[in-house]
């Protein structure tokens, strides 16, 4: 398959994730949609690595996966802390920090 098809799929996955971040209100689902966006970027990186025949893009994809794992741990820790404090698990209610 031409590389362009992979790029279109990656753009599709990224935009589905971006739309989900905008639409959903549950912070857990927002984290899931962030994962979708990171995965779309990963697919584009690996596709470009295949296109140029170098493995640097794959290394970059691995580092992105590490960053995603860090984001998941911190985000889920925040959600557990929110739940423990009996605060509403809803990003529209948790607006104390907005300007």
């Amino acid at each position: 398959m031409p590389i362009g098809w992979y790029l279109v799929v990656s753009a599709l996955i990224f935009c589905i994730g971006a739309g989900g971040v905008l639409v959903r209100r549950d912070p857990l689902v927002i984290l899931l949609c962030l994962e979708l966006m990171l995965n779309g970027a990963n697919l584009a990186l690996v596709a470009f690595a295949r296109m140029w025949g170098g493995e640097s893009g794959q290394i970059f994809a691995l580092i992105v996966m590490v960053v995603a794992a860090c984001e998941v741990t911190v985000g889920l820790g925040l959600i557990v802390a929110i739940y423990r404090r009996r605060l509403p698990v809803d990003v529209d209610e948790l607006s104390e920090l907005h300007g």
Binding site: W5, G19, T73, G77, A81
Partner: protein, 225 residues
């Protein structure tokens, strides 16, 4: 043949992504994301990124998804929050505009490689040996930075999610065993059905916790003593 596999994997990946966004129950959204990750690993394999595909399945679809399932079971999903009226219309429109824009930008970029199948295949491209060699020589600094980032994230998660004294009431964790035994719980407590928010029908549920009769008349009639 690779085109068939590509379309199967791509359709599966996009379906999983749509499921993550549209499913109301967070538990099902997590399962949908796991499906999406596995089909994305198939796409990676088609792009000859063997090590990345293996890491995707083992680390992402394995470990990270288990973490998600634990948190969904702990926080208790099932309640669906309706999104705001403005964003419900504007969000998908924005996503659609973005996907059109990205496709035009990438396909119309004039990169000659976009229309071809990629560089000629070199033996060992994307195998763990090559990746490990690059990680420990050319990309040693990003590798070490990633390990420090992991350490910081682990410590941060422990600090964020630990129990703090004085912040919570004593109903969670410190409940004496005598009280905990006497309160009868519904049959689905602690099962996957509870995590998924699928409640059993009301007649299957135990109605009331067993309360010892202190001076009740109804119990006396039934028991006959």
């Amino acid at each position: 043949m690779s085109a068939v596999f590509f379309f199967i994997a791509a359709i599966a990946a996009v379906t999983g992504a749509i499921g993550v966004v549209s499913l109301r129950n967070p538990f099902y959204a997590v399962l949908s994301l796991a499906f999406h990750l596995v089909s994305l690993a198939a796409l990676f394999l088609l792009l000859r990124a063997e090590f990345v595909a293996a890491a995707q399945v083992v680390v992402y679809a394995g470990a990270v998804m288990v973490l998600y399932v634990f948190v969904v079971a702990y926080v208790g999903g099932g309640e669906s929050l309706p999104s705001g009226a403005v964003l419900r219309v504007l969000g998908p429109l924005f996503a659609l505009a973005l996907v059109i824009e990205l496709s035009i930008a990438m396909l119309g970029s004039g990169l000659s490689g976009v229309k071809h199948k990629g560089a000629p295949y070199v033996l060992g491209f994307g195998t763990p040996g090559h990746i490990g060699n690059l990680l420990l020589t050319k990309y040693l600094f990003p590798f070490e930075a990633a390990s420090i980032l992991l350490l910081v994230a682990a410590v941060g998660a422990v600090v964020l999610a630990r129990r703090r004294a004085g912040l919570e009431d004593t109903t969670e964790g410190e409940t004496p065993d005598a009280i905990r035994i006497s309160t009868a719980q519904p049959g689905y407590v602690g099962t996957m059905a509870e995590a998924a928010g699928v409640r059993p029908s009301p007649q299957e549920e135990p109605l009331e916790p067993e309360v010892e009769p202190v001076g009740g008349s109804a119990r006396v009639e039934r028991g006959g003593w």
